[in-house]
Symmetry: C2
Subunit: 210 residues, 2 copies
């Protein structure tokens, strides 16, 4: 498997070819896409950060997905959903590659190597997306906030091979990611500190258990 960076570079080099991809830039705060009647759309975030936002019937806003470099998203990867409106909002300035899900499976007329490689890269991205989603489900299925936090820390810790980790987003976003109330999460963090499980300085957290 190639490195994250090689995939990045490959994707950024894509212009309009047999695949009919298009690149678009978005400013912070703009809507990248909505999940509504675009069943064939796939998108790759080339750089920047974006959130998948749900507004439910009560008007409550929830961040149900967070995208960063090389994240793949789009309505094609979502259940057809009647009752919620889903938006992808640019959290920072973003560059996004758009293409059609159908195009992935139609044979290239020229049978070009570009076509083949693009298709392989997309598949790898999709698989890493699956890993991401499974990671999140692991966390979401923990029964309480404490276990969600500790499991999350463990994942970061084993990725970094270190007991000192750094939360890659704000605590507000972390609460959304774990789908818990922010203040309840902060309370639980305080308890973990009191009880000697962790030390915390800003976004740096040191795990004191083994």
């Amino acid at each position: 498997m190639q490195s994250e960076e090689e995939i990045s570079n490959f994707l950024k080099s894509i212009e309009t070819r047999c695949y009919k991809t298009t690149k678009h830039s978005f400013l912070k705060g703009e809507t990248i896409t909505t999940y509504l009647e675009k069943r064939n759309q796939l998108c790759i975030l080339l750089n920047g950060e974006a959130d998948l936002i749900r507004y439910d019937f009560n008007g409550n806003k929830t961040i149900i997905g967070q995208f960063s470099n090389n994240s793949i998203f789009g309505e094609a990867l979502y259940p057809a959903n009647t009752n919620n409106e889903l938006f992808v909002l640019a959290k920072t300035n973003c560059e996004v590659l758009f293409f059609s899900y159908d195009n992935l499976w139609t044979k290239c007329r020229q049978n070009c190597s570009f076509h083949k490689e693009f298709s392989e890269q997309i598949n790898k991205l999709i698989i890493s997306q699956v890993v991401e989603l499974n990671t999140r489900i692991e966390l979401l299925t923990k029964k309480n906030i404490r276990d969600k936090l500790l499991s999350y820390f463990d994942i970061l810790s084993s990725k970094k091979l270190s007991k000192t980790i750094s939360i890659p987003f704000t605590f507000t976003d972390l609460a959304d990611y774990l789908s818990v109330d922010r203040s309840a999460m902060t309370r639980e963090l305080s308890h973990l500190i009191e009880e000697g499980f962790i030390e915390k300085k800003g976004k740096k957290i040191k795990l004191l258990y083994n």
Copy 2:
């Protein structure tokens, strides 16, 4: 896109080819695989039902995934995880196709059409797995049991295009799927009935709201 059934038939027709897939049968209750040091393994459930089970450090058992026809699973789709043990257990008799993640990307020497088709089919399965996972995340991120249930019913209802739906597994399993306590979920179901939102007879549920 081909029908579910065509994909099924294609997969069942696979013997040992350039891809080196192997087929295995399992009896109800047997362990299909463990997620431990098999980072390259991918599996497709050809028929039967299986659960992905997590035992955490406290020995608590949680069903974190439920697989049925054409579900794709395997450690390759999971985060490398130190603290939990994951098992896939056959809930009924099962037939499972095993192959290696690596093989998906290595070029076929014979450049055979079988190779190409297999690879495409796998990708489609993976994409439908992504849709499944996103569906579950939609549900898991709802803040309370009531919303989880109603959203779940809505999804079934819009799939079936009917206000009368049938829960495809036991209520015990549904509670696991939504990651809530079973008795608390039953209580909430009773409230929904009392308040006139739904009618319920066994696994048949009729939605009384619009």
